[in-house]
């Protein structure tokens, strides 16, 4: 239980409280001791002086009488008087014997047996009168209750403090434990594979709640990633399955039928093509993993993006021609950024390739590379194909998602994932917008903004800023 942080915290506070109490009580005690005792000693000395005066004036018999009279008329029972001879035999006074103090003049504080009044703490003053010894004292009966009350009060305060501290510690512990327990239950459910669970949160902003919210955020991210990985595994499995299945049946058939050698060679060529497809999928995945690891940042050089884009446009121009698609390119002056030329070229090629896949016959594709006023370079590829619905827009940028429209199209299905990874490597965001709607088609405009090195943009922030990007002449011209 000491291990419980709540209890040990409470105990810590108890110790702190005790310390404060002691700090408060100690000076009080010393003040009590100092002033009151000094006052009483003074009184005793004055008393002794008066008795000494009587002895000087009336002799030892006069003093004896005075003392007897004093004791007989004594009202308050706290006065101690004793006169003895040199051998400390009592001559007068209310003590039966000389107490356990030396017969040397001075002040003493001892426990003294007061006969029927029992043991009493007493303050004594011893004076020497020639051959006689005089003892004047006061017992502490008057002050004892006060003293007792002081100690009782202190002990009471300490006890209350201790018990309250312990109680509060235990209650806090219970409250904490119940919340920790609910967190533990949720987490163990998650450990057992059900990622749907979330930690309970309240409206308040206390520490545990804040922590729970953070953990929930993390769980959201993990669920997304796990979902992504599951998707990947599924799509890898699916993508590999098809060529592998074909390969298998091809080879099996070959072994079964044993056709003429010419046919056999055709089949073998087919088998090699199947294997090549499998290799291509693996290559794409490896590439993605490589970019994702961010290792290529070291290879950053000054790259003219417009140059890369015009090469890519030129590369795809014959393919666009075949589909009667108008593929245009537009740029405004130097668009040099720090980047990886190979990856940027691949990203551009993937974007144009995608647009070519989805743009209709006689469609339009506009590629624009523009330097914005703030120095950022914006790459935009727009087509007037079927586009992507808004809910799907966020998903296609997610890792490994295959849009419905992309099913059945050639390719590995990792095209946009790669573009997204390249964008991320360049500290940039990949954004998708509807193109200018033409003949009933939604169209798609993919925008990738690369910020100059001196002012790296945060993708999250820039997402808002570029939500409505300046109209891109090259794109607008081809999509309207």
């Amino acid at each position: 239980m000491i291990r419980s942080s709540a209890v040990s915290l409470a105990l810590g506070y108890v110790v702190l409280g005790l310390l404060a109490l002691v700090l408060f009580a100690a000076p009080l005690w010393y003040a009590w001791e100092g002033t009151i005792r000094a006052g009483r000693v003074e009184i005793l000395q004055a008393d002794a002086q008066r008795l000494t005066d009587i002895y000087r004036r009336d002799g030892v018999d006069g003093l004896k009488n005075f003392i007897d009279a004093r004791i007989n008329m004594q009202i308050a029972g706290d006065r101690i008087l004793l006169l003895t001879d040199a051998s400390r035999r009592p001559l007068a006074g209310n003590l039966a014997a000389w107490p356990n103090v030396p017969a040397v003049p001075g002040d003493y504080r001892i426990q003294i047996d007061m006969g029927e009044r029992g043991m009493q703490a007493a303050l004594l003053h011893v004076a020497s009168l020639g051959r006689y010894n005089l003892l004047v004292g006061r017992d502490n009966r008057l002050f004892a209750p006060l003293e007792r009350r002081f100690w009782y009060g202190l002990t009471g305060a300490i006890t209350v403090l201790f018990i309250a501290g312990l109680l509060i510690g235990l209650i806090t512990r219970r409250a904490l434990m119940s919340r920790v327990d609910s967190i533990r239950q949720t987490i163990s459910a998650i450990i057992h594979g059900d990622l749907k669970h979330r930690l309970p949160t309240h409206l308040s902003d206390d520490e545990l709640n804040t922590l729970s919210r953070i953990i929930n955020g993390m769980l959201d991210q993990i669920e997304l990633l796990v979902h992504g990985v599951r998707n990947v595994s599924n799509s890898i499995a699916h993508d590999l399955r098809t060529p592998l299945a074909e390969l298998r049946s091809r080879l099996e058939e070959l072994a079964l039928i044993r056709p003429s050698s010419e046919e056999t060679f055709v089949e073998i060529d087919g088998a090699v093509a199947d294997v090549d497809r499998v290799i291509r999928i693996f290559d794409a995945l490896l590439r993605l993993a490589e970019i994702d690891a961010g290792m290529r940042r070291s290879g950053f050089v000054a790259v003219d993006v417009a140059d890369l884009a015009s090469t890519a446009v030129e590369f795809y121009a014959p393919a666009a021609e075949l589909k009667d698609i108008a593929l245009t390119f537009h740029s405004n002056g130097p668009t040099t950024v720090a980047g990886d030329p190979v990856l940027l070229a691949q990203a551009l090629s993937n974007l144009i390739d995608n647009a070519l896949k989805f743009a209709p016959e006689n469609g339009m594709i506009g590629v624009a590379v523009l330097r914005r006023a703030d120095g950022a370079v914006q790459i935009a590829v727009a087509d007037n194909g079927p586009g992507i619905t808004d809910p799907e827009k966020t998903k296609v940028v997610e890792r490994f998602y295959r849009g419905d429209a992309s099913r059945g199209t050639p390719g590995v299905g990792l095209g946009l994932s790669l573009v997204q990874a390249v964008a991320k490597l360049h500290g940039s965001a990949l954004e998708l917008f509807d193109g200018t709607p033409g003949d009933g088609n939604r169209g798609l405009r993919v925008v990738l903004t690369i910020f100059p090195e001196s002012a790296p943009g945060t993708p999250a922030g820039s997402g808002k800023a570029a939500a409505e990007p300046p109209s891109l002449p090259g794109v607008a011209a081809t999509t309207s």
Partner: protein
């Protein structure tokens, strides 16, 4: 060509040696780095095929570095299962001349070996190229076939120039992507074929004998042979 193959995988070695033999080349084989280093340093080869990862304490890149330091300029093609761009750059930086990732098509390997061999014999970028009656002048950038001038786009010119520099050799799609467009990735499309057929339209369409031929499962070849 006399070729040295440094490769530890028995199956890959047999496949490559047999293929090279069929293509008319003689091949020496070393199964580990030590033998490879010894052969490469002592025998004259036209091209060396070097596996990157070898058993023992000497790996492919180390051999290449030693050979280059010793002044050997034999063209070297690095064979590797490491496909990352950085691995490729590291391989070329160590002194390799070309880089091919496993698994590879044999046609690709053969075409690259031919290209390496030819490059090693020096390329004069100023001498006009001729294949049959097709002429290309890199200086004036003029192309003609017979007595007819042919107008090519800059990229088409580059494509044809590359093909003609490797006349009578198979040139793969990947080689074209790398050398004509500087694309060191697989665009996963058949656009190269489209470019070739456009080029073919311009140089072959109206002539009886086609010069730009498709080599099945390998790539293309410009040749005047029958």
């Amino acid at each position: 060509m006399k070729i040295l193959l440094v490769e530890d995988n028995e199956r890959v070695s047999q496949f490559v040696i047999k293929g090279l033999q069929e293509a008319g080349h003689t091949t020496d084989h070393a199964g580990n780095g030590r033998d490879g280093m010894f052969l490469a340093a002592s025998e004259p080869y036209d091209v060396i095929i070097m596996d990157r990862m070898l058993p023992g304490d000497i790996d492919g890149l180390a051999i290449i570095e030693v050979l280059r330091k010793a002044g050997k300029s034999t063209p070297i093609l690095i064979l590797s299962a490491l496909s990352e761009v950085d691995d490729r750059i590291r391989g070329l930086r160590s002194g390799g001349d070309d880089y091919l990732t496993k698994p590879f098509a044999f046609g690709e390997l053969l075409a690259r070996l031919d290209a390496l061999h030819r490059r090693a014999h020096g390329v004069n970028h100023e001498i006009p190229l001729t294949v049959g009656n097709l002429h290309l002048d890199p200086m004036t950038r003029k192309v003609s076939r017979g007595d007819r001038q042919i107008t090519l786009q800059p990229r088409e010119f580059k494509l044809l120039e590359y093909l003609m520099r490797h006349a009578d050799q198979v040139v793969t799609r990947t080689m074209l992507l790398e050398n004509v467009w500087d694309y060191h990735f697989d665009p996963q499309t058949n656009v190269v074929d489209v470019h070739i057929s456009k080029l073919r339209q311009k140089i072959d369409a109206e002539f009886e004998r086609p010069l730009l031929r498709t080599v099945r499962n390998a790539g293309y070849m410009v040749t005047a042979a029958e």
